[in-house]
Amino acid sequence: MSPFAVQLVNLFAAAMLLLAFAMLSQRRILALIHLYALQGLALSASTVTVAWATGQDHLYYSAAITFTLKVLLLPWILHRLIRRLSVKWDVETLINIPTMMLVGIVLVVFSFNLALPISEFSRSIARGTLGIALACVLLSFLMMITRSKAVPQVIGFLSMENGLFFAATSATYGMPMVVELGIALDVLVGMVILGVFLFQIREQFDSLDIHHLEKLKED
């Protein structure tokens, strides 16, 4: 396959990592959603590239699913949610942004080192992608830890899913179709349920601040 494709995939990988960092540091929820959509875009683009480069047709389907789900559907749902729930800001993060950045960088280094021995075995076109995927996962994990409102947590959760998909498509040429379909279904349903939840939480505590969700504990 052509080195051009490799460069392309690497580019998208880099974009995803960048976006992950951006989400980590982004406070405004609306912007967060946009970033999420962009990440989905990069993901589907890379999937298409891989599909085109290796001629694996089922990857086109998975790209299509990804696009519709993560670029169109979920961002739209999220938009409506925050408009209905009127949450704009996620003011205070639990750790301040620069520290989070530093931690994030450490994570990236860690995950690259982790992925390095494995990527030798990869027949795949882009060796580094696995590390990047792992980094994305861990970064969104970090984001979930540090956000104090429900919606950003959800977005973190979703972007973690992105990282996983990226690993699936770029490191291995996509999972079996049936599995991907199942995963997509789960994500969709999960999203819907989350939406319902957010409303219920809101009507219970009339806020989406998860500090209200700290009653159940060992005292």
């Binding site: 021995p117 996983l164 690993a167 699936a168 599995v179 209200h212 969700l213 159940l216």
Partner: protein, 483 residues
Amino acid sequence: MDPLAILLAVPLAGGFSLWALGERDSAPEINAAFSFATFMAAAWLTEDVISTGPITAFHEQFFVDPLNVFLVALTAFVAFTTALFSRPYMRTEREHGRMTPARLRLYHSMYQLFTFTMLLALTTNNMGILWVAMEAATLTTVLLVSVYRTAASLEAAWKYFILCGVGIAQALFGTILLYFAAERVLGPQGDALLWTHLDVVKHQLEPAIMSLSFVFLLVGYGTKVGLVPLHNWLPDAHAEGPTPISAVLSGLLLNVALYSVIRCKVLAEGALDSRFAGNMMMGFGLVSTLAAAFFLSRQRDIKRMFAYSSIEHMGLMTFAFGMGGPIANFAGLLHMTVHSLVKSAIFFAVGHAAQKAGTQVMEDIRGLLRVSPRVGWGLMIGTLAILGMPPFGVFASEFLILTTAMREHAWATPLLLLALGVAFAAILRRVQPMVFGETTLRRLPYQPALAPVFIHLGLGLMLGLYIPPYLAAWYQQAAKLLG
């Protein structure tokens, strides 16, 4: 007509039809009927396996082997008895105004779907589908946990969702890595995730990848097993959901999660030919057992307490499977079975007790023997059984686990002794005054369903004194298969 198909189809259909039927008075009975049909199908399937041996179906996408056949039967059975139990229970809840018809509708359909997802997870041969099923199980149960719509139940459900969602995501990464390792051996077709195939070639899988993959899988599915320190969702979800759900969570879902962990462990062990995976599980198991024991000693909410006891027992099983070897694995499987029987029985009794007292706070539940002896004895005997008092099956497995540990990992036995002792003291100290003494309780509008309690306890008793040959044979084959 294939029993496997029926087994999976019935609960799926049940879920949708119960939703479609909407808010009816007869919904509980219909629910029970569907569960019964599922149980029948499971029985048929079991009978098939007994006569013909392990089977695979649908282009090997599904398979039933000694390891999962009894889990399938167990799951269907407990799901059925729980449906029986939930009939009067849920009606009473409605009387007490905690359930509305709409919620009951949701409850019943989700109950069936939940059964379906568990059966799917158990019978699928595809590690990917396994993941999908586990995630689906999480989703359905989240709705069930939050069904009361109270602040506490919402919080519990939210934590459950987030923690398990994240955990399951790790498991997905593990699955991807597994596929990544597998396709280099089996080629990039759909069957590269089929467990049977993987099991054949497990020795050729790349160790470096497999070790990472197992870590992700363990953390992922381990979250659902409730291993400390990934357990935090478990007590909340058990305490705040409706009691039938606590019963199936403890009795079934944890089992299924552990089942997926040990499936992965088999592969990892094969690839790594080191005790890495085993040791990791032993570590988790030990930590969980100990921590849970000490958690137990400070509980005030009865369901929360038994949730921690589930963590303790899951830890014990994880420890057993971690040790490996025919005896330990045998013990682990036996413990799985008996624990889910006894623990669900306990939750049934607890449910009625809590309804009588109108609270789950143990200080306010007193003297069950006086107001309704059968509930009292059910709770007492169940507790003693779960605490490892012979002649119940829990003791049998603990006997094997401890003695095996004593000879292979003597260093661990003092910790186990400590944990078991503390747990015993903690639980008995709480349960005794609830059962004995003068009472504070009232009668219930509906006659509680106690048949399930005593059926379960009876089976638990039987497994302590006599294990049917088929079951024993399965256990032994499964133990061999787990290595």
